[in-house]
Symmetry: C2
Subunit: 335 residues, 2 copies
Amino acid sequence: MGVTINDVAKAAGVSASTVSRVLSDSPRISKKTKMKVRKVIEELEYYPNFIARSLASNSTNTIGLVLCTEAHYLIHNSFFIQAMTGISTYAQENGYNVMYAFNKNEEEDLNIAIKYVSSKSVDGIILFASRVNDKCISYLKKEGFPFSVIGRPDETDGVLWVDNDNFQATYQVTDYLIRDGHTNIAFIGGPAGFNVSKDRFEGFKRSMYVHGLDINESFIFLDGDFSSEFGYECMKKLLENESQSLPTAVVTCDDMQALGVLNALSEKGIDNIAVTGFNNNLLPGINRGAKFTSVDVNAYKLGYYAAKVLIDNILGKEGTPTHYIVPTSLAENKL
Amino acid sequence: MGVTINDVAKAAGVSASTVSRVLSDSPRISKKTKMKVRKVIEELEYYPNFIARSLASNSTNTIGLVLCTEAHYLIHNSFFIQAMTGISTYAQENGYNVMYAFNKNEEEDLNIAIKYVSSKSVDGIILFASRVNDKCISYLKKEGFPFSVIGRPDETDGVLWVDNDNFQATYQVTDYLIRDGHTNIAFIGGPAGFNVSKDRFEGFKRSMYVHGLDINESFIFLDGDFSSEFGYECMKKLLENESQSLPTAVVTCDDMQALGVLNALSEKGIDNIAVTGFNNNLLPGINRGAKFTSVDVNAYKLGYYAAKVLIDNILGKEGTPTHYIVPTSLAENKL
DNA sequence: CATAGTTGTTCAAGCGATTGCACAAACTTA
DNA sequence: TAAGTTTGTGCAATCGCTTGAACAACTATG
């Protein structure tokens, strides 16, 4: 069926080990032999068997992705696909394959991780969006298995990770609003279990503090999810609370939340409240009337560097950083 | 380091082959031995080495995804991530891993396919969105390598594939509009070279015919692309043609086209024309004012069945269909 | 010219499972 | 009780490649 290394060896009149060493361009093989063997490889269209190679070298040249997320969240969030593209790009550049598995909850995540590690089907793992007290992280640490995390984990000691500076991101976008003249700013946060939620809220608070602005407690919504429904509800509450005036700007932690806010506003015919989101994910054309700014987290790069930091580490490259901070940028959205 | 089958064999006082047979639940092993061995496996936390198993059994229990697509297209199209989720689900249910690689053009696609096949790193391949005269398909056919295609290929002979019934889809959505009272309906189609474009137009025509409605030739736009620009232009033409009244509804073949139509309408402040799209891809809430219906192609199921048809075929399951038609459904879009 | 050091290649032992075949023990059957 | 079955287990080859160590053939050195 397939051409094996032995076929090549026979045809070239050398031993299999020589062929193997030609393949890995070993300095112990003479130029002449290399040329000869390479010609035969070409002629026979020989391609090394990936599995056999893995078994012998005790490495699979494959990394595994563990993504836990609920279906509806995925569907309108390009974050994952962008990050996966970034991962795939760096992996391919370095001869690595990428495996993925979508899971529905933390337990499934852990099971997949255990499976990957125990069956030795991958050389390293990339974790998406670390939770507080992430079980996968504890497990992988305990096993001493190479992994990197997209999203800063609780405990960065000895962990490879990439993230935005989420503190900086909300600090920046809040600062941007304040410079634009806003003083009454509402904040809609993410799920309490994620570090990203905490950081984004802190950045917001800090920016307000630095500018000497008070935070109106009734303008703050924490521990929701990253959905448009949550954004909608929060904005509704703001609109219904007649005991006080409205904010002039709303900082949200996700474009979907922002969308919900925009919809609530549009229902009331309000178009003079500035809204900001995260991920730069909304379609151009969506936003007519209200002004909308999104923090682009650069998911492609997050993925790319998550793969880089992991693969470089596996390969034992010298001077590889243990983490990367991928810069965010502000994206103005209009048709 | 890791526990091997030999460790288990030794600890259980049997041979490695017996352990292997216990693992595959061979009927040739007695209940008593199975119990004993299983207990040891449990105790030692033994997990079979995936690679070794693959080498010995000459199968990787892995399928590879070949996705060619341009970055910007990915970003706002949830089709891929949904399909990938469906694939992952069926694969996991059947003990298969999934590898993916994003490519930028047909050549890269082919290279990845060649790599997967030649290095024997996967047991089968899923191709996304077949092109006309797809090189990957020809190659895989020539090699006799198992693969399935999402999107009906030119030549279905001996090919595993899944797709929607595109005729039925536009038939249904047109029917829906007609029952809603519309009689003057415009149609915006896709690129001429694709079967999907033809089928969707036929479905539209058939529905009009069945309801005894005339098709206004100036309401028909064929051979455009699936872009919002094309949708925008077509709608512009309709709006500018003062020699006749406007349609009351517009059937488009993609949500992006629909978005263009909606934008053209919104510019004129028109909100009483019904618009339909494909893919159910626009964010809920995008559409304020105009009514918007999308044909949900059910990408998750397309992926799920693409995996099913492939894996079942690899496993040689009896009576596996060679293709599936995944039903579409209508999705009303509102917040 | 014998000895030591290079250089290039082969040998053979893994890597960790699967699986056809042989064989021993237990059970039928005549 | 001997011969024939059935049942359960082990032996050993195999999958295709990598790699440390051995070795042969040269080249340099004193």
